[in-house]
Amino acid sequence: MHSHFSVRVAEVQQGEGKMKITGYCDKLSAAPDETIKFMVNCELPTYTVEVVRLICGDTNPKGPGVKETVVKTPIDKTYKGRKQTIEAGSYVTIPSNPLLERLGSFSLQALIWPTTPEKGRQMLMAKFRERDKAGMALVISERDSSVGLVLGDGHGHEEILTTGKPLLAREWYFVGASYSAETREVALYQEPFAHYPLVSDAAEVHTKTKIASIGKNQSPLMFGACRSGTGRGKLDSKYNGKIDRPRLANRVLSRAEMEMLKQGPVPVQLSSAVIGSWDFSRDISSLKVTDTSPNSLHGEVVNMPARGMKGYNWTGEVMNWREAPEQYGAIHFHDDDLYDAGWEVDFTLTIPAALKSGLYAARLKAGAEEDHIPFVVKPAPGKEKKIAFLLPTASYMAYANEHFATNAALVELVGGRLAVLDKQDLFLNEHREYGTSCYDSHADGSGVCYSSRLRPILNMRPKHTSTLGGFGSMLWQFNADTHITDWLEAMGYEFDVITDEDLHYQGFELLKPYRVILTGSHPEYHSRQMWDAMMAYQLHGGRLMYLGANGWYWRIAYHPEVPGLIEVRRNEGGIRTWAAEPGEYYHSFTGEYGGLWRRQGRPPQMIVGTGFTAQGFDISAPYRRLPDSLNPRAAFIFKGVGSV
């Protein structure tokens, strides 16, 4: 605590971050006859569900007021509450296999770039069950932040042997360990790639363990974490940092043999010793993890650790992982990564044919607690109206569960006033497992380049205020966009609602039926597919009403294999809360160059005639008309607006 003079305080209270009911759905939009699944966490005995058409979510008494109309559907019921939790933290999992279960003696090795070596025990490579201390693991030790080997007998006893030399954060190391079941001899290796005066972080240790045999566990082999139990036991000892080229052998390897395995393919003379030799530079755009040894012990990443990351051998001469994948053999694991919350389904809604297109929500109520799970009903094919509101769901995802008010020191400065937190902000501050936005940094300080919608997104809610929102209603993104739905309803326009994600997957075809497309208040994030579709629409005479600002700014990619996942690389420049590392400017999902569209020859002016130059979050002010606005061609736009 620094030396703030304090206001007079009689009582201090903590832990207000409670939301007893939260939920999400498996898709953001559905057409009639399509089905949406809803997942709910409710810590109260029961909750009721109603579907509402969302018109306006602004709670400001000086504003239009909250407006939502109940729509009868078969899901209007009382449901039993159950607690559903989220397990954040990314890792690689290789399913249990007889080759792994039979291990007596073994060797483990990898190249690592730890980001929080002082955090406590962190699993690099683990075939380990925490509950009964069964198995073995190459770790960063809680004892002295050095590399260690954990051996457990499966009867609750473990021993950790360490090099005793603390690792430096954000430096590459070769690390390895071997264990002989016959002699109980252990060897440990910790070799830095960079050498600094007065730093002693290299070690080679030969010692003996008391553990006579390693406990069997039937657990998967995991990189970046372990589990307390065999099944979905709690994730434990989560690692922050990079791992490159992990290897596992079924006997004690000499240091020279480890060196032969370090880089590339398994040499013939070691092929009977090697159990697995994983190459993360394969399938960078995928969830797959490939074992290049003859055993094919392939696995997958869980919770989206960052891929397309520079490896230990990056030369600085190559910037694009597609040009030299062998220099991008690292995965960066974070203890707060999250893709799919993976909750059980509580109810499903098949969109009734009679339900008109629009913005809706499943409104959950439990006692005084409430949450809304928003979704879009698209028009049935061929039944489109003339007007479509393009809901900027990619931008909602980029901002999903942001922690501006509680993490960022600068919010008060850029906002020109104190940060104002509501219940969602307090909850997200204390429940980091709900994941991060692409504006946040991970716990280890690295930028968040992925965001998923398969989790409750608590700032994508009616009634939510944001400290970034303009003074007054304080609306931002989703809830600000309900001013647009409110206006459309108030004016009596018939309109459809479609989403960024629909545009990404369906392209220009989605827009073709419409005479006019309305943007949201802040359509900032666009994939190439979305950009191309909007340009094609305009070139074919389509009209675009730009009802926001900071539009068509960042380039994103959607994951090619799995739903509901975007990537942003904060490259080069632009207003940004973190910066991509040099050499990590290309999307891992697609290989496309990330960053600002305007740095790729596609400034926002090409789509909407104007572009972002500066920002402010303090007070809103009116526009001033310039002489060209008096051109008679623009008269229809300015009808009823005062002159210069």
Partner: protein, 105 residues
Amino acid sequence: MLTVYKVGEHDRAVVEEFHKTPIGHHSPALQRVLNVFRSEPTAGKYVLICTKPHKQWVLGQLTGERGKPVKILKDQVFTRLEDAEREVFHCGCQRVHIRILARYP
């Protein structure tokens, strides 16, 4: 702090301006003072927690530690955001020894 400018008693002239307009466009002299006050590190930074939408707020303090609950200063309740701004501004003034001659009515 992000700035080398040292706020002190010589800035007292801006107090009245802030009293009148805590939120809005400010003179360069006041903005310079606010830039210093608002650039404090996260630990101990004052925030508001909304207790009744658009009607009531309570002052809180960030811990600067990721995931730690916001400290809620229960008896510092405001029904106008501007009053909360003035209170926190006074704390800043005290810190740099600017005397507040008259509180805002």
